[in-house]
């Protein structure tokens, strides 16, 4: 398979258009299954009561918020080093979905925190670093759009994204490094302390979030490609048809 073939925006535009619906379908199916398990089948948590069901969105969105940032940073690195146009566009397309995931993690965390910790918000290390992540996404988007020349925006914002990567391990390990209010990891490679239905539900919801993020990114990157390449012949012929 020739990767350079697909790294040209015009071919990728078509490919993304064909793939995106399938990712959305997969996301919807997985979500239906995950929500069925999480909301209807899974038993109550002994300590927290029913509110623990927030976990089925909180954890997947929190994971995705970090993972998407990581992927975005990888694309940014690629675009800085190899000056590839498509990777910069992919990074731009990921950012809004990443910000959305971060926002959801914060929001659901806050509504989980109120009944369990008695407050919507505390300035503990994990929550703070997750908030910083949200601002990093905002900063990335603002910086990328703050230049007359989109390619300058790409490069400046890419650098910002790379600097911000430092924040990821801080989010992830904050519960271990500091004595935080936020609870530690309950899923690990060695085994888990969770009920098996809960765990399956959470993993299925995570897979769904993942598929959704890919789908949304692919749809958005198509718009980005159109915006950026609107003066090229292939886009012209595309609209005329």
């Amino acid at each position: 398979m020739n990767w350079f073939y697909f790294s040209s925006p015009s071919t990728f535009y078509g490919l993304a258009g064909r793939l995106a619906p399938w990712f959305f379908v997969a996301a919807a199916l997985l979500a239906a299954w995950g929500l069925y398990l999480g909301l209807l089948v899974a038993p109550t948590d002994a300590q927290q009561g029913e509110v623990y069901r927030v976990i089925f969105i909180h954890v997947p969105t929190a994971w995705m918020s970090m993972f998407l940032y990581f992927v975005m940073a990888c694309y940014c690195g690629l675009s800085l080093v190899f000056n590839t146009r498509l990777s910069a566009m992919m990074a731009r397309a990921i950012a809004p979905t990443g910000a959305l995931m971060t926002f959801l993690a914060l929001w659901t965390g806050a509504f989980w925190g109120r009944p369990t910790w008695g407050t919507y918000w505390v300035w503990d290390a994990r929550l703070t670093s997750e908030l910083v992540l949200l601002f990093l996404y905002f900063g990335y988007m603002a910086l990328a759009n703050a230049f007359e020349d989109p390619r300058r925006g790409d490069r400046a914002a890419a650098l910002l994204a790379l600097i911000g990567v430092v924040n990821l391990p801080i989010i992830y390990f904050s519960v271990q490094w500091w004595n935080t209010l936020h609870q530690g990891s309950s899923v690990s490679f060695k085994g888990t302390s969770m009920h098996v239905t809960m765990l399956t539900g959470m993993l299925v919801m995570s897979a769904s979030a993942w598929m959704y993020a890919i789908g949304a990114t692919l749809v958005r990157v198509r718009s980005v490609i159109l915006e950026r390449e609107r003066r090229t012949a292939w886009v012209r012929s595309l609209g005329a048809a």
Binding site: G139, A142, F147, R155
Partner: protein, 235 residues
């Protein structure tokens, strides 16, 4: 080859770039000592605005003292940022720096160092005085100053990177705020946390060591990032 050997070919080095940038920026600052004086004045003003806006109950003041001082330091450091690269960008000096034989790492670090000497250092030296106004205990004052001494260089480095990134962008100062302030937040938390821990009888060591780790990481990574950002800006 031709006889340009008459003039020795230029040689670039980290040290030469560093000292060049630092000497130049300090000369410029020295020509106008107002700048340094004014950073401190701004800091003092912000710190005294609070008792005005909030009212002057001693316990309340002692309680919010470390936080306010750190926020003041952060804002003062922040206000001095736009000037760090903007004029060099507008008059073409940045182009010349990018084209100089010295590696970007050198002059980028030099500029940030000069900036810290002019803004962060005086602020650190002044902080005990402001702390006294808020009625902080002597040992808390010491820890406060120490946390500023470690923390303000981090602010200068992070701020420098953001200022370089925002060069030539529209939205100017406000974009800079959006970029820099969230990155400043952890520094603020650990910095103010150190003094507060001391004030409440706990050990400030964990906070300070985190700050120190942050300083080392920034020293290693950020001058390089600043150089790259400048290169992007002059394109």
């Amino acid at each position: 080859m031709t006889d340009t050997a008459a003039r020795p070919q230029a040689e670039g080095s980290f040290a030469a770039g560093f000292s060049w940038a630092m000497a130049r920026d300090l000369t410029l600052a020295w020509r106008h000592p107002d700048e340094a004086v004014l950073t401190v004045a701004f800091f003092a003003l912000v710190a005294s605005l609070f008792p005005l806006g909030i009212g002057a109950e001693p316990q309340l003041l002692a309680r919010i003292g470390p936080g306010v001082i750190w926020v003041g330091a952060l804002l003062a450091a922040f206000l001095a940022l736009p000037g760090l690269f903007a004029t060099d960008y507008a008059d073409g000096s940045l182009e010349q720096m990018t084209l100089s034989p010295h590696p970007a790492l050198g002059w980028a670090a030099g500029k940030v160092a000069a900036h810290w000497i002019v803004s962060g250092l005086p602020l650190t030296l002044l902080s005990p005085l402001i702390g006294l106004q808020y009625g902080l205990a002597p040992d808390t004052l010491g820890i406060q100053a120490l946390s500023l001494l470690i923390g303000t260089p981090v602010l200068s480095l992070l701020g420098g990177a953001c200022a370089a990134l925002a060069l030539g962008a529209r939205g100017g100062g406000m974009l800079l705020a959006l970029l820099a302030l969230p990155l400043f937040v952890p520094v603020l938390i650990f910095g103010a946390g150190a003094a507060e821990a001391q004030a409440t009888g706990m050990s400030p060591a964990p906070h300070l060591s985190l700050l120190g780790a942050g300083l080392i990481a920034s020293l290693v990574g950020l001058p390089f990032a600043i150089g790259t950002a400048v290169r992007i800006a002059v394109d």
